[in-house]
Point group: C2
Chain length 342, copies 2
């Protein structure tokens, strides 16, 4: 049987979760990765070394690497003191490889060889991508990191999310989308990771033109000050609008209620579960897969990791979600054989 | 045939040269490495992260690694801009491994696994080694880097070279010396790399007690302001004095005259060839091996590498020296079999 070609489109944390689960299956994985990050260690490296942002790529490398636990731990290690404080070792690794090879894309290829990675990691663009968000009041949030930290987007209203200057999708990313059997969009920061991928010129059209089954992994929680009150359908509608077609085939939704401990924790954190009401819309252009895809673990973040503390406490379970996705890819085969039943 | 156990005692650059040549032979290599370095990238990491000095160990790792050219290039790569400027990627690699594993020794063991290194790399001490040099005028040069840059040691006269506080040799280093078939001392900075190894308490006694053949690879040039006018015998005498016995069996000496181009270059650099006069001493306690061990390449250093620019232009040829050493180890076997002839 030919391995299914699965392409993930997202950022670091969401893609890490997806890839870590999917790599246990006999599938052909390619991760298309957002290149908008400009905060923390990544931001400093962009500014000081003039490299492309390594942070999201690093997380995908760690997820897909078959190397020892020790080596993967090393890539995720953050220095805690002096001039190196906050730098992730894996970011320095990717930036050094970019400098040596004169290209981020070639640097990633070298990293993939060194780390014995199964799968491909493809930056969505090779351009220096600078993200901006214009609010309806005319104010502009400059940079992914500022957008990520903003709590006024929902209140002021989003006018426009854009790269300045505009960025072109990498040919490699477009090609992999066109040849995919399955395209997975999200989860991840909606304005900072998921949508920015669709803004790289050429990506949306490629998704539209592709014959792949398209699955959107909706976030489990809304982001405070950004997507408060969004329902699953709101997210899906926005994704389809960016693609320019009703292209989503499936949207995954968590049906498992978090346990009490988790609920107490997230209620203090101003996070809100994404809601889904089957009756709200009559004829959706996508099917909603309701399943238990919730992680039982309670996320603990080091207080030193500034970005992590803005992340969700309620998270996907990597293995549960991968299983659903793998089953969906099998169902699609089934559909193509016995068309009349479905 | 059992592999010969060869132990090198030195620092980064000299040991790199030796190991790169010796690893082509079927021998069991262990590099005992000076831990006095406190300059450049290494110095910053010691101060800011509180780690042990990675620089010399890194060079031995690169020399002994069977990994790809790309990976070895990566370890030697130096960042050129921003807060990372001057840091060698390999130093960051070793410092991160030390931090993760809580021990420099264990960190090196991890590095050896990751990099597919054939051989062992053993810090001469696990203590935080701070080197001092007291001049006869009472002044004290603080730290390896300052000693390395000094041009007044010869003029003012050396009173004492010491660690403050005193450092103990690692048990692993002592054990490897005691079990060695061949011990190679040098080449390398005399006051900054070769002698500091012998100052770690326990090393000199282990060399004295060992049954190994001891070879001293004398430097090819004197260091301006430090060892001006030293002959091969002066160096050898000093080494024996530190060991506390006439322990050297062989001293290697280059008999090949550098070609005109090289001579022109080094004459401008105030470097002076080490001289050897067979007639000067009647009965040496060591044999002097005169051979062509000169590198034909002219060393080119980046002007950004401050330390390198103080290094010798006239250098050993890695392959030529390794061949001599391997032959010497064979001669020793020969001696033990037919004792009567020698």
């Amino acid at each position: 049987m030919k391995k299914k070609k699965i392409v993930t489109i997202g950022g670091g944390t969401g893609s890490f979760m997806l890839l870590a689960g999917l790599k246990k299956y006999q599938v052909d994985l390619s991760a298309i990765v957002s290149m908008a990050d400009d905060g923390g260690s990544t931001g400093v490296l962009r500014d000081e070394l003039g490299v492309l942002p390594p942070g999201d790529v690093r997380q995908c490398l760690v997820a897909l690497s078959d190397s020892s636990e020790a080596l993967r731990g090393l890539l995720s290690y953050r220095f805690e003191d002096g001039g190196l404080k906050g730098h992730s070792f894996g970011n320095l690794f990717l930036s050094a490889l970019e400098k040596i090879n004169g290209s981020f894309e070639v640097g990633i290829e070298e990293a993939i060889k060194i780390l014995n990675v199964r799968g491909k990691i493809i930056p969505v663009t090779n351009d220096d991508a600078r993200l901006f968000l214009k609010l309806k009041n005319g104010d502009i949030l400059k940079g992914e990191d500022n957008i990520n930290r903003s709590v006024i987007i929902r209140k002021e209203g989003l006018d426009k999310l854009y790269f300045e200057p505009a960025v072109a999708a990498s040919q490699k990313a477009i090609q992999h989308i066109l040849e995919a059997d399955l395209i997975l969009i999200g989860p991840g920061g909606f304005y900072t990771s998921v949508l920015p991928n669709l803004l790289a010129a050429g990506i949306s059209k490629a998704i539209k033109d592709s014959k792949a089954t398209v699955i959107y992994n909706c976030n489990l929680t809304n982001k405070n000050g950004q997507t408060d009150g969004f329902s699953l359908d709101d997210y899906a509608k926005e994704i389809n609008a960016r693609i320019g077609a009703e292209r989503l085939d499936f949207v995954t939704y968590n049906s498992k209620k978090p346990d009490r401990k988790l609920i107490e924790k997230y209620q203090n954190s101003q996070q809100q579960l994404v809601e889904f009401d089957p009756e709200e819309i009559k004829d959706r252009s996508y099917k909603v897969i309701r399943a238990d895809i919730l992680s039982d673990e309670i996320a603990e973040y080091s207080s030193a990791d500034v970005v992590a503390s803005t992340r969700a406490l309620i998270r996907h379970d990597s293995n549960k979600l991968a299983k659903i996705i793998f089953l969906l890819s099998e169902i699609e085969d089934y559909k193509s054989i016995i068309k009349d039943i479905i």
